[in-house]
């Protein structure tokens, strides 16, 4: 048994590993049936194992089900249910698989976008077989890269995967996978290197070449992420270096490398959050109150959200809202979101300074509580909002979420909403742990432990807030995402109706006045979820804000405006069509939501509360990106802040807002998506630079394919 058997179970159906690239498992995604068919045949001709789907959501689902099932993903750029870039981000974040973009559009700027979003390669249609024959290089390169990184550091070679991994429950699973060149193990580019030796022993013989084996990935469970965030906070985001973080965390089998790459992501996430947070902070502030179930805290990419939320003290409410809100409604959506969220959401790290806060905020935001809505569901879908947070925390979140959901569901997160449990919980778990604990805890209040969903630390968790049903989070195990989905689901459940009812309560800050938070807060990945539940397509637009994709479940189909929720990252195209065809865009949820209360804040609508919360933060950010459709109402957002003064967040939000503003003026309503992205990317770059050299090229979002 052993390796072969394991491999077999992994999905390799008999393709011997050592014959790589023969038998390499590819997932092809394209909405055009002609192209998809052609691609399939071409790939088969190259002797790869091909799985096809014409829906990005389905692709994500497949990928999430079993990360080890595929070695490579090829995706079209223009797809109706989800933007290819968003999918790219999500996959990169959640699964750390090489993704190749495919398009008939060969314009330089589009290609550039693909690369900056982390694509390993960008092929033009019609695709030729010669080009496909070489795609296996990306798999090997990635693996080697991870491997190399790992080798540089001395890890406590313990074959046992660090708790992170185990948290996933795949402990046993992971080790075996390591050898699999499919890189199953390497989820997030974190590898448990040392283990590779041990684990890889068996694998080695399979591959016969350790260098091609992927080291087991470190799974950043909620717990682990929490510790990470705590360590970072302790050191101070600016001073946090992997080595010291590692020491503080005191976790076995965790290498400096792992920490370094996680830190990088976290920074990016924070950056996003702060951008969004500032906006959201306002919103959040406005929402402050419990009623904020909406708090789109979700994906707040930036700290802002968190902070603001937390700061204003409203966070607790927010977080709860988020969680509840988000979760409850849209299961289906939520689900999507989660996934999405996880993947991208977070661009943590960039706002170091703010990070702590934003994160908290985020966490809180994520919690988007969707009042009443099917909380459970939300979580599932919600990931988006939370995702942002979650991404950071992703692993931790997931784990946390999982339990959180259980815990929170009841507890409290949902100040407003009932379901919140999960979403907030997850965040809470992190958050509480995270630095922001004080803040968050306050916010969370209800949550009891959770405190702010890890705004800082657990970006992910936070967002999830909404997703009270942790269940989804579980899924997000891998990445932060788990929670993120909030956005998506949130919208569903919560959307319109809830919002309408909530009216006053509505998640307040988020949507309503503030700018359609569109949760798109960069980080939030709005995954266009097809919410089975809602029946609509929760298209979560992953507003990849410069990488943070927030998927906003487009529950609201109606209001595409809000779609922007997370769409910051979403292709500009979407932005341009603010309202209309956003149907596809997930933000619908927000939209509806937003529409009602907000006057013209397009995006906030959907995803209900959670999004809103997130949006709140995000909006700030998002507005910018969304520019096109979203009428950035910076002022409005601020309103939220003010109104929600209770929450500490408000303060934070404002600060974040300012921060974000300073960041690059995204917030100006007129910012185009590009600006936003650029601004986002820029700081990230800085962060990256900041990261130690030893981090290697762990440019996660930016340089996915190295």
């Amino acid at each position: 048994m052993t390796v072969e058997e394991r491999k077999g179970s992994m999905g390799r159906e008999g393709a011997p590993k050592d014959q790589f690239p023969v038998g390499m498992r590819v997932l092809a995604v394209d909405d055009d049936p002609t192209c998809l068919k052609l691609l399939e045949i071409l790939l088969r001709r190259c002797q790869y194992q091909v799985t096809t789907t014409n829906q990005a959501i389905m692709a994500l689902k497949m990928l999430r089900e079993n990360k080890d099932k595929f070695d490579l993903v090829i995706s079209d750029v223009h797809m109706p249910d989800m933007d290819g870039f968003k999918l790219l981000e999500l996959v990169g974040l959640e699964m750390d698989l090489p993704v190749i973009m495919l398009s008939a559009n060969g314009e330089t700027k589009t290609v550039m976008k693909g690369i900056t979003h982390g694509a390993c390669d960008y092929l033009l249609k019609p695709v030729r077989i010669e080009e496909l024959r070489n795609i296996w290089q990306h798999v090997v390169r990635r693996r080697k890269f991870d491997h190399r990184d790992h080798n540089n550091y001395d890890n406590a070679g313990d074959s046992e995967k660090p708790q992170c991994a185990n948290s996933e429950g795949g402990q046993g699973h992971i080790p075996s996978e390591s050898s699999d060149y499919g890189g199953k193990l390497n989820r997030k580019r974190k590898e448990q290197n040392e283990d590779e030796e041990d684990d890889g022993q068996e694998n080695m013989h399979e591959n016969g070449d350790s260098s091609t084996q992927k080291k087991p990935r470190v799974v950043w469970s909620v717990e682990l992420h929490r510790k990470f965030v705590a360590a970072v906070n302790q050191l101070g985001i600016d001073k946090a270096v992997p080595k010291r973080i590692l020491d503080l965390m005191n976790v076995e089998n965790l290498t400096r490398e792992n920490v370094a790459s996680h830190l990088q992501k976290y920074r990016l996430y924070l950056k996003r959050l702060s951008a969004v947070a500032s906006q959201q902070a306002n919103m959040v502030a406005a929402f402050g109150g419990r009623d904020h179930s909406y708090l789109p805290m979700g994906p707040l990419d930036g700290y802002g959200n968190f902070h603001t939320l937390a700061a204003s003290g409203q966070l607790p409410a927010l977080s709860s809202f988020q969680a509840n809100g988000v979760l409850s409604g849209t299961n289906p959506a939520g689900y999507g979101l989660r996934e999405f969220a996880a993947s991208r959401i977070v661009q943590p790290g960039h706002s170091h300074g703010n990070t702590s806060n934003p994160i908290n905020d985020l966490g809180k935001l994520q919690r988007i509580n969707l009042p009443g809505s099917q909380h459970g569901n939300l979580l599932q879908g919600m990931p988006t909002t939370l995702e942002v947070d979650q991404l950071q925390q992703h692993k931790t979140m997931q784990d946390a979420n999982i339990h959180l959901s259980g815990g929170f569901s009841g507890t409290g997160l949902t100040t407003g909403s009932s379901s919140n449990s999960f979403v907030n919980v997850t965040n809470n778990s992190f958050v509480s742990q995270a630095h922001q604990q004080h803040m968050q805890s306050k916010v969370l209040g209800n949550h009891s432990s959770v405190g702010m969903p890890s705004v800082t630390s657990d970006p992910f968790s936070v967002s999830v807030g909404g997703a009270s049903h942790v269940p989804n989070l579980g899924r997000c195990n891998d990445t932060w995402q788990g929670d993120v989905p909030l956005i998506g689901h949130a919208s569903n459940s919560f959307h319109h109706d809830d919002l309408a009812n909530m009216g006053a309560n509505v998640p307040v800050g988020l949507h309503i006045d503030s700018n359609p938070l569109n949760i798109s807060s960069s980080n939030v990945v709005a995954a266009p979820l097809h919410n089975p539940v809602t029946g609509g397509d929760v298209q979560c637009q992953a507003s990849s804000f410069g990488g943070n994709m927030m998927l906003m479940p487009s529950a609201l189909d109606g209001d595409s405006k809000f779609l922007n929720f997370g769409n910051a990252g979403i292709s500009k195209q979407k932005l341009k069509e603010p309202n209309r065809d956003h149907i596809r865009e997930p933000n619908l949820v927000f939209n509806s939501y937003l529409n009602s209360p907000l006057s013209g804040n397009p995006i906030i609508g959907p995803i209900a509360e959670s999004q809103r919360l997130n949006n709140g933060h995000f909006n700030k950010k998002w507005d910018i990106s969304q520019t096109n459709f979203v009428t950035p109402v910076p002022t409005q957002k601020c309103k939220i802040d003010n109104s929600t003064t209770n929450i500490q967040l408000t303060h934070k939000e404002e600060s974040i807002l300012e921060t974000s503003k300073s960041q690059g003026g995204f917030y100006s309503s007129g910012c185009s998506f590009d600006d936003l992205v650029n601004s986002m990317i820029k700081p990230e770059r800085d962060d990256i630079a900041f990261m130690d050299n030893d981090i290697g090229c762990d440019f996660y979002p930016l340089g996915a394919c190295i």
Binding site: D32, P33, C35, I41, L42, A104, K125, K576, R580, D581
Partner: protein, 149 residues
Amino acid sequence: MAATALKEQLNGLVNSMFAEGLLDEQFQQLQMLQDGSNPGFVAEVVTLFCEDSERILTELTKLMDQALVDYSKVDAYVHQLKGSSSSVGAQNVKLACIQFRQFCEENNKEGCVRALNVVKHEYYRLRSKFETMLQLESRIQAYENKQQN
């Protein structure tokens, strides 16, 4: 043999399509992919292309009929059609799509309407030849099956 005659006919047809610019070398790639393991590959792809294209053309017609044309939607469809036609090797259709996109970018309604007509024209022309081609292929196939039996 009847089969041989049919094959000649088929080749003649395909060559003329190449000569007229209806097809380009991408189609040759498709032909090369068809083999024992994928006997009906070309037919399958061509059929898929036709179905999808007609759907897109219908949508485009609807969009262009509106008083206020949503150019981004139109562009998205045209882009898709361009992608699939280029994948199949439908050169004329692809070129017509490129033209169409030009007008879309300029938000030139009249230009778009004309371009759409050109695309349709090219597409239907191609389709009828594809139909003939597929018929010939299936007849040849039938013959060969008979011979084997």
